[in-house]
């Protein structure tokens, strides 16, 4: 049989750089895989595409993936890509705002990427640390390109934004960070990873193992060559080279060991329960791809 082909729907973000490096460097080919990366711009429907069998694999943020898993959609995590560092994602206020801390946003609206974003967990956890109730701040899901617009129009008091918009809003509109999500309880949280459907996992164990190996090679390479990461960004994302240089690069995960990853994921699953993104405790034991 010829090489096995995998179609991956992946958002155009920093987390997916290793995937593209692995493709460019021939890491997948070496495993006998042909990987086709379908770059997705913010649709939020990638999990549906995986479950429906329209694509083989998709990148999703951890909260979103866990949420799909916990609702019984039958997805498995193939690999986690990266963990957040300072500056990955920040709560920004406009130039004229007098807010200095999260507490100053009391009773106001905060724009977030989606209703299932880790930002909500981070903010609520920080509020809790300051002894404030979870509903101190209201969340409004807004697509990232509109963050500047909603902030400017006064629709929201702050936005929870990641790169490249974070950089652009700070540099060009004079926005200011009042909170960094990679702090406190969830500091260094896992950002996201690749999902497949249960059915696909069961049928393609060997290929997925090959995928994991190739990706690990690529994450290691990426961590060692931050410049190449920044250079790769404009190739598959819409980020321009000038902005890409200022982008904060996350730390890529160099392990596929379930025992290592599981606490990372469980930590977020617990936070989802604590901070109102999940109604019941989530047991992540069935979430990981088990080696064949």
């Amino acid at each position: 049989a010829g090489p096995i082909s995998i179609t991956i729907s992946n958002p155009a973000n920093v987390s997916n750089v290793p995937l593209h490096l692995a493709m460019d460097k021939g890491f997948f080919a070496a495993e006998g895989l042909t990987v086709k990366a379908d770059v997705d711009l913010g649709s939020g429907s990638t999990v549906e595409a995986v479950v429906g069998g329209q694509v083989d694999m998709a990148w999703a943020n951890v909260v979103s993936g866990l949420s799909a898993y916990s609702k019984g959609l039958g997805v498995k995590l193939v690999a986690l890509t990266d963990t957040a560092v300072t500056g990955s994602q920040q709560v920004l206020v406009g130039k004229g705002s007098r807010a200095r801390t999260l507490a100053d946003l009391k009773g106001q609206k905060l724009a977030v990427l989606s209703p299932s974003t880790i930002c909500i967990l981070n903010v609520r956890s920080a509020l809790k640390a300051q002894g404030l109730p979870a509903d101190t701040i209201a969340f409004t899901p807004v697509a990232p390109p509109e963050h500047a617009n909603v902030l400017e129009s006064g629709e929201v008091a702050a936005t929870c934004t990641s790169d490249p918009f974070r950089t652009l809003m700070i540099d060009q509109l004079g926005a200011r960070s009042v909170f960094d999500t990679s702090s406190g309880e969830l500091e260094g949280y896992a950002v996201g990873g690749y999902l497949v459907s249960d059915k696909y996992a069961a049928a393609n164990g060997r290929a997925l193992a090959g995928f994991q190996r190739a990706l690990l090679k690529a994450t290691a390479y990426a961590n060692a060559h931050p410049d190449e990461v920044k250079a790769a960004l404009p190739k598959f994302t819409t980020i321009e080279a000038a902005v890409a240089n200022k982008v904060i690069v996350n730390k890529y995960l160099e392990t596929a060991d379930v025992a290592t990853l599981r606490p990372q994921v469980q930590r977020i699953a617990d936070a989802m329960r604590t901070y109102g993104l999940a109604e019941n405790p989530i047991d992540v034991s069935g979430y990981f791809l088990t080696s064949p």
Binding site: L41, S43, G52, E152, I239
Partner: protein, 281 residues
């Protein structure tokens, strides 16, 4: 008997240039100038608002900037490819919608039982926003052109359906009796009596369907992140960050595209519907 009405108390000009009286070149020029005047006014209003700089110009650039960018896009092959992709999806979707809506509309307009039975389903279905079913469609169809065509058809079907129904109900009863009296078979009656009579309204429905289809097609491209089309172009420009000029230029050109599609439909209408406004409708 019914001479062309040239001056009415309420009507200052000939009501319908129609086919018998072709618009003269001068008339066409005047119409063009009037249209341009209207468009210019709109542009000016936008320009003035933007120039007031109540809003950061990087988010809301003035009309001049947008138009300049639009002109650049107009000759950019990369953009034109996306226009083509959108056009294919929209026309395909509207064609599908018409193929469903017109026969169904004739049925509902003709038979009370069909109307009674289908109205609840139709009224419920069409209140469902297309965007709400996008994830479900992605599940079944993926993010390609077939999904776009489906979503366009889903929204374009209603204006066509309702205008057909109202058009069919408006057929002169005497005309229907005439067809029956000559034992014209049902299918031929639909084809030669009901449809021509309803045609003006069906074509209005088509115009609405095209406009709705275009906006929703592009909206779907934005919402689903399909791999091509004007919406994809807009989405990419907006994800690149702070390219409001390109975004609005593409949006403007989408509007122009809609304007052109409408113009073609109107020309078609004038050619097909010579009799409208000449007699009992």
């Amino acid at each position: 008997m019914n001479a062309p009405v040239t001056t009415t108390g309420v009507r200052a000009e000939p009501r319908r240039p129609g086919v018998r009286r072709r618009t003269s070149p001068r008339g066409a020029l005047a119409a063009f100038l009037r249209g341009t005047a209207g468009a210019a006014l709109l542009t000016l209003a936008f320009e003035v608002f933007a120039r007031l700089e109540l809003v950061d110009p990087r988010l809301l650039p003035p009309a001049g900037v947008i138009l300049g960018e639009a002109l650049r896009l107009l000759v950019d092959p990369a953009f034109l490819v996306e226009v083509w992709a959108t056009l294919v999806a929209v026309l395909g979707g509207v064609a599908l919608a018409a193929a469903i809506a017109v026969p169904l509309g004739v049925l509902i307009g003709s038979y009370r039982l069909a109307a009674l039975g289908l109205t609840p389903i139709i009224d419920s279905l069409r209140s469902v926003p297309g965007i709400a079913i996008i994830p479900l469609l992605v599940l079944v169809m993926g993010q390609g052109v077939s999904m776009k065509v489906t979503i366009v058809a889903f929204v374009a079907v209603w204006p066509l359906l309702f205008n057909t129904v109202y058009g069919v109900r408006g057929v002169d009863p005497v005309a229907m009796e005439t067809a029956r009296a000559f034992r014209v078979p049902v299918h031929r009656t639909w084809w030669r009596v009901v449809l021509p009579s309803a045609l003006p309204l069906v074509l209005t429905g088509l115009r609405l369907a095209l406009a709705t289809g275009l906006t929703v097609g592009i909206a779907a491209e934005i919402a689903v992140g399909t791999r091509d089309g004007v919406g994809y172009f807009i989405l990419r420009a907006s994800y690149a960050g702070f390219h409001a000029d390109t975004v609005f230029a593409a949006v403007t050109l989408a509007g122009v595209l809609g304007y052109l599609m409408n113009g073609i439909t109107v020309a078609l209408t004038n050619r097909l519907v010579v009799w409208d406004g000449k007699g009992p409708s």
